[in-house]
Symmetry: C2
Subunit: 239 residues, 2 copies
Amino acid sequence: MNKAPKEQFFLQPVVNGSSGDLVTDLSVAIYEHRLLPGTKLGEDELSDIYNVSRTVVRAALQALSHLQLVELRRNRGAFVSQPTVREAREIFEARALLEPRTARSAAERMTDAALARLEAHIEAEHEAIHAGEQGKAVRLSGQFHIEISHIADQATIAEFIERLVARSSLIVAIYWRRQSALCDKHAHHALVEAFRRKDGAEAEALMKSHLLDILSALDLRETAKPQTSLKSILGKSPD
Amino acid sequence: MNKAPKEQFFLQPVVNGSSGDLVTDLSVAIYEHRLLPGTKLGEDELSDIYNVSRTVVRAALQALSHLQLVELRRNRGAFVSQPTVREAREIFEARALLEPRTARSAAERMTDAALARLEAHIEAEHEAIHAGEQGKAVRLSGQFHIEISHIADQATIAEFIERLVARSSLIVAIYWRRQSALCDKHAHHALVEAFRRKDGAEAEALMKSHLLDILSALDLRETAKPQTSLKSILGKSPD
DNA sequence: GTGCACAAAACTGTATACAATAAGGCAATA
DNA sequence: TATTGCCTTATTGTATACAGTTTTGTGCAC
């Protein structure tokens, strides 16, 4: 059926069937800012695009809502979440609480294999930036933090960090101030160097300042960016 | 058909309709150890008990699985989660990381109303213990921690603590060593006293030692309690 | 021209029917 | 008697139909 090709630009061009997990596809699209905060995710729309029934779409949307990537409003539908300024602050406070210590832990447990993974990751980030794929760069940048949390080998805390990073990508989509490429290119590199030396204290310090850097690149004034909520009230789809 | 009235002993005796939220009911049952780790939660069974369709049961089970209170196995069904020894340690490490600081925060923001709520909560705990309702006491004991996290007014971290407390109740169900009543009766009281004085440092210290107390009351030797994993592999239902 | 009321359309919430998969039992054979 | 293979049964995965709610559009009155 040749209908609604509009949204297919925002989502993976699933070749008529299961390209993989619906949750994953949507997550990636949100991570990469192809689906922006406030976007309505209609059930019929998604079931058309992915050629599955609304049942599985609903399950996917529910899963995403538990990750707080989408917000479900009863009888209204699913929307990509729009973290408030307050939530944004809270999320970065939580990250500042969890991630530096986790980076230390990761440094102490670092292996050659893990180090290689991180280096490959940074390489991929650079490539994405140079290729002008800013969305992909944002996503990889977040996944770098997730990778570190997994190396720290604390699944429970890693899961929390994963959730925080996910929501952070929404925050970046809304509140990011600079248009230029990501500024944390060097920060990630410096972190890897600390990891190579298994210098836990340095890794912890670097992570802490790195998070502060990101936070300082956000415009979290209460009065700023009113267009965000406005978009969610007025506009329905991001044409 | 007059089948499976057995499970109705474990669940709220819903009077033929909606007593409230299915997720809440199941959560409470798990919190109170009426549903034990490893218990199979069949969809038909639940839809019979609650007089709703499998659709809503599935949604509830999915929600609980995202809270990590139940584990979903594809084509196998839903089971009350059975945290491993390792997960138990991780969960309490995470609590030790988050809760003491949160207690300090709560102390600094304490209001009369919040204090009254906490005192009422402790009162309810005592009543449950004296009434011999051990399950209810366990649940209230956990909710005390959740209440504190809400007072700290950091929704993101409060949500994490909520998840940790939820899983902790599973851990207690599996690994709790002592049969006697909960030992943290005085710990909670001492915390409230610190809160009353708005003594953040004291609250932080008390919470830290309180968590260590709980941890020390668990039997987390790797070799202990093999019947847990065994039960999940061999046994199907805990009759 | 503006505002309100009513109706119709679109969408979500729920139930149910069917398909697919896994579990358990029975029989046949070694 | 133990084991293996198949078949029956039970349970989950998915699709679809219907009911309820929200939204939107139209028309009438002011």
